[in-house]
């Protein structure tokens, strides 16, 4: 990052501005810059390039804290089945992410079942069925308007009986402020447990990279309704930098597991802290 040649208040203002414009939010930006000032003072740093190295370090540590080694999402424990539910607000990329993830698992030889748990939105079942076909995996589907909890129960129960390796559950987009829809999500969580007591093994909140501070409210409410195990940050191939993940990690301890980087089936990656923080400043 091109910044001034001296460590002064203006440098810290410029760095704080970068954090703000990348959606870190004011609370996180202030916290990070305060830590930075403290460490720079303690170590008597006078080179602004080194200040930036310290900043990168602070931000990486926020993401690394309590999870020093990033596990490969596509090498989960060998449970039969390993159940992953995808939840989130409308239009964030849940269904597309499931298609990509299914493909990745299938390529590594896993027996995958997609459960078409969005029975509400127009052509939602058709959409996820096309992804299942592209990924070469099976799908559990119903007619539209059927209770999503019953399709999801059938899907997980069938996966247990037929010894699938991976179950990917698609759910309808929903606003976290709608109590009825969040209650529906809790019912879905309960029926998954009925079919498979240890499941869901992962509950992934799918968040659009372009989202601003509302992502925090989303994470908080979804985590309160059903325990989240991670985030999938989608549409990272745009120009948004996804700075909201720092607040979500710091305050809710929810890590990013997946990065969506396009609309094609291959466009999914494991989240990589060092790469992400580097990209943040380019």
């Amino acid at each position: 990052v091109k910044v001034r040649g001296v460590v002064d208040d203006q440098l810290y203002e410029d760095l704080e501005e970068i954090l703000i414009k990348n959606d870190c939010g004011t609370e996180m930006a202030e916290r990070i810059i305060t830590s930075l000032r403290k460490e720079v003072k303690e170590d008597r740093i006078t080179d602004p390039e080194v200040v930036q190295i310290y900043l990168v370090d602070i931000m990486q540590n926020i993401l690394f804290k309590d999870i020093p080694d990033e596990s490969d999402f596509f090498q989960p424990p060998a449970l039969q089945p390993y159940v992953i539910a995808f939840v989130g607000v409308n239009g964030t990329g849940k269904t597309t992410t499931i298609g990509k993830v299914a493909n990745r698992f299938a390529q590594s030889g896993k027996k995958v079942l997609i459960v078409a748990g969005d029975t509400f939105r127009a052509a939602a079942i058709d959409q996820v069925a096309i992804w299942a076909e592209r990924a070469g995996v099976h799908i559990m589907r119903s007619e539209p308007e059927r209770d999503p909890a019953s399709v999801i129960y059938d899907g997980v129960a069938s996966a247990v009986a037929k010894k699938y390796d991976i179950v990917l559950i698609d759910t309808a987009g929903r606003q976290h402020t709608k109590e009825r829809l969040m209650k529906e999500l809790q019912k879905i969580d309960r029926v998954i447990k009925k079919a498979c007591p240890e499941a869901p093994h992962e509950t992934i909140l799918v968040v659009d990279s372009t989202t601003g501070q509302n992502a925090i409210s989303q994470a908080k409410h979804f985590d309160e309704a059903i325990k989240l195990t991670g985030l999938a940050l989608t549409k990272f191939d745009g120009t948004a930098k996804g700075g909201i993940i720092f607040n979500i990690k710091q305050n809710l301890e929810i890590p990013v597991r997946l990065l969506g980087v396009g609309e094609q089936i291959e466009d999914i990656e494991n989240f990589h802290t060092v790469r992400f923080v580097k990209a943040f400043f380019t």
Binding site: E17, I20, K21, N22, D23, G25, T26, V89, N90, G91, T92, G93, G99, F120, R121, A122, A123, D126, Q127, A129, I130, W131, R134, G173, Q175, H176, T177, K178, D208, T210, T211, G212, Q213, N214, A215, S217, K235, D237, G238, T239, A240, G243, I244, E263
Partner: protein, 291 residues
């Protein structure tokens, strides 16, 4: 809320009847925080605050208001002024064809907005038709057809990957069916995807729409300015539809988009169902942004 936070700053202040420069300096930080937390773009916030300062210095504090409330009133009024729709109203007639196009990023709510707008205008006695020009997303065409069936409005589809071919067919069908509102749904696309931006520019050239709506998600953060200005540079869209306002996003993107493109915010999406589309009101948006 902002007014509570400002009141706590002014708690020990003896009212002077006028806002002093110090009153305003003390409030600036709180106003800036409130707007950034609401996702207003940081550059827009800078300009906005400079304007507030000009207007606030020496302003008379009304007897019924505390200095904090007075400052909030100035901020509120300025937000309203900036987001004023200037009476934008889509002109649709019973005896000619009005063509509109929906554009925007992936997942913003374009397809749903097509159906909502079609249903809204059919209630006004207009004869709408929708056109499925998203040839990429799995089941996108089916999605528009399902919505069309739900509201009993015809949907034009063609078995081709060329959106201009679909558009030509739609125009023919619209004229022969005496349609008076033709609504083009397009694929979600990135502002930095040159080929996709060229596609929608080509579609505009062939269709010559009367209105292009930029459909934006109300939860968009700082990136709203970059996205909106790129779409505006390429298409000079006419108005904005802000979706998913039934959530709790503060919606600062609304101010950012208006500030950087000058185009009016026309409609607001307030839910997933067909009736969930309302006319935009600047005063409601201003209150929401201020939390």
């Amino acid at each position: 809320s902002l007014s509570e936070r400002l009141d706590s700053i002014f708690r020990n202040l003896k009212g002077s009847g006028y806002l002093t420069e110090q009153n305003i300096k003390d409030s600036i930080r709180e106003i800036r925080l409130a707007l950034l937390e609401a996702d207003v773009n940081f550059k827009i916030v800078k300009n906005f605050i400079a304007e507030v300062e000009k207007r606030a210095i020496g302003a008379e504090v009304m007897k019924s208001l505390s200095p904090g409330q007075q400052i909030v009133k100035i901020v509120h009024e300025q937000l309203i002024a900036l987001m004023d729709t200037e009476g934008f109203e889509m002109k649709v007639y019973n005896n000619k064809l009005t063509k509109i196009m929906m554009v925007g990023l992936q997942g913003s709510g374009k397809t749903t907005a097509c159906a909502k707008l079609a249903a809204m205008y059919r209630k006004k006695g207009i004869k709408p038709m929708m056109v499925a020009c998203d040839v990429y997303r799995p089941a996108a065409i089916e999605q528009l057809k399902v919505l069309g069936r739900q509201i009993d409005i015809p949907v034009v589809t063609e078995d081709t990957k060329d959106v201009v071919t679909i558009a030509e067919s739609a125009l023919k069908q619209a004229y022969s069916a005496f349609t008076n509102l033709l609504i083009f749904d397009t694929a979600g696309r990135l502002h930095i995807d040159a080929d996709m931006m060229d596609e929608v520019a080509r579609l505009k050239t062939h269709v010559k729409p009367d209105y292009i709506f930029f459909v934006a998600d109300s939860m968009t953060g700082q990136d709203a300015v970059t996205v909106a200005s790129e779409f505006y540079k390429k298409l000079e869209f006419d108005a904005v539809i802000l979706t998913k306002m039934d959530g709790d996003a503060r919606g600062g993107a609304a101010l950012s988009i208006k500030a950087v493109t000058g185009r009016p915010l026309a409609y607001v999406g307030t839910g997933e169902k067909i009736p969930d589309l309302e006319v935009f009101y600047a005063d409601r948006m201003a209150s929401r942004i201020l939390g």
